[in-house]
Symmetry: C2
């Protein structure tokens, strides 16, 4: 393997020729390196028929290396970067996917669980560092108010204890977990199943912007890639393997979130499940997993989750961020007001109150308190989040010196 621009280009091209997770591609790259593997595929010498026809179909649409070059240019314009195993910020844990044993998997998409070739990343934190102490919180899109409440609390609680909250950016449980983490002023990572320039679902665009500002948007697909259905299942293996443990909050019977949990257990991570009312269809999948999987562990809140992920020694690692920041001590209403604000754009008082779900008077009182704490700035056109303090001050852990800042070009 070479950490060259040529290698990076080859990995991007390979990602375009065959869906991420394809074992035969992974094995070729392992043996020959990405450049020779790409040459071999483009010469029509893929080791299996399925891969040969996939490469042929793609090649009819364009020249792989040209597509990859365009993708890299587009990545740079987006203010994103491509991260490969050659980069220091590569999240080492995803290599455990090599050992993922899937017994009884019937569909192709369930079988192709090879480690990723590269990641597209948007956001300032080095990817590996952000994921070092991370927990995945996943669940149903059609979450109930109960599930949303629990996921928000978990997201908040984990972020508050210095853990990065990882999820898939979907409606329902995913969004609640991300929002909980953001409210705590913590780090959250959304692993998407499409290009970073078109994060799906569109309805979460504002949430994705907030995540990219303070956390990370991550994808195995190049800019422009569509959120095709199978990609969500392919993506799930990354959520499962890149984190220390996975918590399932609500799931209907045999849902995608259940699959993520099973993958997490499959790569030896703690698989945790929040139970719910047996009268709720949205807890059927959660209870199924708890009944069927000896290794699935019932958890009822942040303390239980920390107990599980701490079991494998991570609780002894220094916390990712100091817990004594003023933000952690805010009352509920102040936290709501803070969450209602944006960093880039000021919002008028009335809109702040509406977004925060508090009355005008409360909004005003909390805003001036937050202003005194230097967490909010008042501008002519309203209120906005204060700019983040210098690295190493607020977060308690600076990004690695080698880590790219926001809007950096992809490393080559």
């Amino acid at each position: 393997m070479t950490g060259t621009a040529e290698g990076l280009l080859a990995r991007v091209a390979l990602t375009w020729l065959a869906e991420p997770g394809t074992w035969s591609v992974h094995r070729l790259v392992d043996q020959l390196g990405p450049v020779a593997a790409l040459d071999l595929l483009l010469a029509g010498e893929a080791p299996d028929r399925a891969l040969r026809s996939a490469v042929a179909a793609r090649s009819a649409m364009g020249e792989a290396r040209v597509v990859a070059e365009q993708a890299l240019a587009r990545t740079e314009r987006l203010g994103a970067r491509v991260v490969t195993p050659d980069d220091e910020e590569w999240p080492a844990r995803v290599a455990d996917l090599r050992g993922l044993l899937l017994s009884g998997a019937a569909r192709r998409v369930d079988l192709e669980t090879a480690p990723p070739l590269c990641f597209w990343v948007r956001g300032a934190w080095p990817l590996g560092e952000a994921l070092a102490r991370s927990v995945a919180v996943v669940g149903a899109r059609a979450a109930t108010p109960y599930g949303t409440h629990v996921a928000t609390e978990l997201g908040y609680g984990l972020a508050d204890r210095g853990w990065t909250v990882v999820s898939g950016g979907a409606f329902g449980i995913d969004s609640a977990a991300h929002r909980g983490a953001l409210t705590a002023g913590g780090l959250t990572v959304a692993v998407l199943a499409c290009g970073l320039d078109r994060p799906y679902p569109m309805g979460n665009a504002a949430l994705f912007d907030r995540i990219a500002e303070t956390g990370l948007l991550v994808s195995e697909w190049m800019p422009g890639a569509e959120p095709l259905r199978p990609r969500f299942l392919i993506r799930n293996r990354v959520i499962a393997a890149a984190t220390v443990g996975t918590v399932l909050v609500e799931a209907a019977a045999r849902s995608g979130a259940t699959q993520t949990l099973n993958r997490a257990i499959g790569v030896g991570r703690p698989g945790m499940v929040v139970p719910g009312p047996v009268t709720s269809a949205m807890s059927v999948g959660a209870h199924e997993v708890l009944r069927d999987h000896d290794k699935a562990r019932l958890v009822t809140g942040t303390a239980h989750v920390l107990e599980e992920v701490g079991r494998i020694g991570y609780d002894l690692a220094p916390p990712a961020r100091a817990p004594e920041r003023p933000r952690d001590r805010l009352d509920d209403e102040a936290a709501q007001v803070l969450e209602a604000l944006l960093r880039r754009k000021a919002i008028g008082l009335e809109r702040v109150a509406a977004r925060a779900g508090v009355d005008l008077r409360t909004a005003m009182r909390k805003l001036s308190m937050l202003e005194e704490l230097a967490m909010v700035v008042r501008r002519d056109d309203g209120y906005a989040l204060a700019p983040p303090p210098e690295h190493g001050t607020e977060a308690g852990r600076p990004p690695a010196a080698a880590g790219p800042g926001p809007s950096t070009a992809p490393p080559t």
Copy 2:
């Protein structure tokens, strides 16, 4: 051991001298038989100090054999009976309490878990037969509407499948389980912690009457015995050991119902737990048990419970009662109306409607339907349940020929 009147009297006297479950008494009876064991205790020769002083204290209040004779006379007047291991209807399964290993038990009441010496029983069914295919449903007194709903459904579902529903007759989960079974026209057994003439709580008096009419009231304590606090915990071991499995529906942290479930697992029975919202204090105990006990099994309804109790072969046993009785086919409203009626006392139409929670018109329609099915009789002063049909007709399984009918004197 002798199955004589003298032996019966001795067992009753021993039950009065020391609380049921006392190991040293059990061992004496095992070695010497009840008559000689009683003589030894009354001679002040109890093997341990605690037992000697208990006997001395009781003896200061009366002569044990005289008290026992009075208790037997009172039992007869009550229309109840005393059942001992010498009787054919003795529930064999309680002998498994001999092997109950309680590690880490701190309180005396947690240690004294010896098998019962005798039972007081009110109701027509032979005790052993009623308990042969039985499931305990236990839980919190301060149940939530969720827990009450789930317990009612379980009681109904299990009774509907021919299983006897056993519980403790308390408010909340216990009552809901008993009522569910009654609504299904099934068999239910309340195991009390006091004399059968003063079933506790008083507020459940009407429920106890209905249980005694079609099922059984059971106690280890003689008539007149008070429902002292420790007795509920002593009683729990019987609920756990006399049934094929125990289901915990709702429980606060470290509650009595949790203890019952632990005892069930302790004697090798399936210990089943219904999860609930993690936001509910009434599910904390349930979730604790599921987390702490490898053997505790999550169940979400009747089907799961049947799967567990069926595992040990009982699903192959002939069902305790035929499922094709007309009662099983009633619609919900008719069932509610039927449940609102009493056997002994007629109730006016308006009161029936109110108790059943239906409007007058519906009550009238369902009552005349039930009358045609010969399940209800109309009297001058209102409606009442029809008298039970001859043995072997309604229930589909006649009580054993040797079994005592209702209001029989205690066997000697």
